[in-house]
Symmetry: C2
């Protein structure tokens, strides 16, 4: 009789970081696509756009003027989702069972924007390792700076790349949202890692790295690595081309990279390689949301429940114009994927880690 096979049969995989499941239906890849097609945005852009509010020297939405920056540039988001100055929220006293049904809390904080480069038409994949190193050093600096501020307990750095990821400006940039509260996703990860540590006296991600790089004979999910960082498709990935960059040593935040040149260099190297590999999959600039998970900056000790890592959540499914929709079943029931993590790792492993020169084609 036939044996159960991850490449053929429907199964769920468990995400130990968020404590949740994803449904995998590998045979669904045969399904023809008759739905919406995205615009393939391989448009050639100018190096400087006079109408871009992120380009050097230009004016922003609320009138401020960017200075003539030469590498990275940080400023306060003109439409910040959270602000430092707002009245304190004083909830009504919890008197009955109904109060938990209308529960709220105030959230103070700051939102920053960081341009990666003065060049309007470059992407991380096309930047040199030195230029990416400069971005990393700016991340370390802003993480340090924001961590000393009152009302800031968590710092979420993320990049939306590509218009299908809701990015409203192609100028390469990321955002830094700093909040009083620790948001949902990092909270779930902190809790899972804490529980894992209490049970096993080891770090969940340290163990996961050991499993993927040493314990397993075949290395079915590893895409690339260097001395300090590993890039893989997690066993429990949701998005078709989802990957993680994990630090090989147990460092818990960007703070731990401070003054450690080798670690910073290796991080720049692996970021360049995975972003180039992405662009080479469909020979086009690959849209994704990317973000850093690390220790909160509250006053607790996070040695045992944090481990620096990056998540890449790309939207594409099978061509530059066909994306994966996380809709009906995903929103109502459970995330669902067609390709297995192992197949995607194989594809990304074979994808070249060098800049894809479509813009000069």
């Amino acid at each position: 009789t036939e044996e159960f096979n991850f490449e053929e049969h429907s199964h769920r995989r468990f995400n130990p970081l968020t404590n949740s499941w994803v449904l995998c239906s590998p045979h669904r890849t045969k399904r023809p696509w008759q739905g919406q097609n995205e615009v393939n945005n391989n448009e050639l852009l100018p190096e400087y756009d006079p109408k871009c509010y992120l380009c050097p020297g230009n004016e922003r939405a609320q009138g401020a003027k960017n200075y003539n920056y030469e590498s990275t540039f940080i400023f306060s988001n003109d439409f910040a989702a959270v602000k430092i100055e707002q009245p304190e929220y004083l909830p009504q006293e919890q008197t009955d069972k109904f109060s938990n049904l209308l529960r709220a809390e105030g959230v103070r904080g700051e939102c920053k924007v960081m341009c990666f480069s003065p060049k309007h038409n470059i992407t991380v994949a096309e930047m040199t390792e030195d230029a990416i190193l400069h971005v990393i050093q700016s991340w370390i600096k802003i993480y340090q700076e924001m961590s000393t501020k009152p009302y800031i307990n968590y710092i979420q750095i993320f990049e939306n790349k590509g218009s299908i990821m809701g990015c409203s400006n192609p100028h390469p940039h990321c955002q830094i949202w700093c909040t009083e509260t620790i948001p949902e996703e990092p909270s779930k990860e902190l809790l899972s890692m804490k529980n894992y540590y209490e049970k096993n006296h080891s770090c969940l991600l340290c163990d996961y790295i050991y499993l993927e790089t040493i314990k397993l004979e075949q290395k079915p999910r590893i895409i690339c690595e260097n001395d300090s960082f590993l890039c893989l498709t997690p066993f429990w990935a949701i998005w078709p081309y989802e990957t993680m960059i994990i630090s090989k040593s147990h460092i818990i935040s960007l703070f731990d990279l401070n003054d450690r040149n080798k670690l910073q260099q290796d991080l720049a190297n692996i970021i360049r390689r995975i972003t180039c590999k992405y662009d080479n999959v469909f020979k086009s600039s690959f849209p994704y949301s990317m973000g850093i998970h690390q220790a909160p900056v509250d006053d607790k000790d996070h040695t045992n429940d944090s481990h620096l890592h990056f998540h890449f959540y790309p939207a594409l499914l099978r061509s530059p114009t066909i994306k994966k929709f996380l809709v009906g079943y995903e929103l109502l029931a459970e995330p669902q994927r067609d390709l297995t993590s192992e197949l995607v790792a194989e594809q990304l492993k074979n994808s070249l880690p060098f800049v894809f020169l479509w813009r000069f084609a």
Copy 2:
């Protein structure tokens, strides 16, 4: 000094059904939009499309032929995400801490598709209450039928409407995915409702209805209601125009609607009203994912942890072509919304509950 105000200041709201938080930044609505615009798909379609695989009499992807149905029509999904026939998954014995890091389970089940109408160019909003009643009766029937099958413990009925919701065919239809496992979202709701019941000896959603319809003096989140059902924007909504339909009496599944004509009629009535209201917000066919949450069909008693309700998750933010992107911060940190639930309820309350005749304009 200024007082804290939900319409002005950033806050989080707690979702007691899924036990999670959403960040609300009401002042962000002032932000100009320079990002991707969707296609406004107000195209006139024919009543019958010879190339549609859902139209009566036509051939489907794998060669089967639809019969000449006159109201609803159910068939097995030609690219089912789960199947009844597959080998059993036998995980390796859990011997060490690493086994929880590569945890999986097999999932058997069945996927069905249900056409709402033989007409290719109609939507739920444009159907008569009698035609919607027929859809409801078909839901009841399929829920009963599937619940008796082996390997089926949960039945997820959902509709993806509109191409921006990943719907690949405009012919009005929903899907029914039946699985051995109880998926993530209903699992979370079942657990929260169970915990609530154990603590308070009452049903979470019964209490929430009492709170919104009777206990609160102003009714800031109620959109419309009839004798049996209530439609509101939940306090903790994530999507800008998210709503819920909740049954006023404590019924736990579609099964409880069987042979109860008044309940069925009232459900048809409220579905028609909210879908029409949606179309009237931006004077265009309103895309959404919609789904039913109800009791699992496993052999447990779900009297205390289930309560029949519908979720509507529409994608639009502020026009037929500007959608809300749940991307970077939402994927990495926490869902974020701009409009408050109360403002949206006001807008939907004022939106007409009659069919919007754009297709005949």
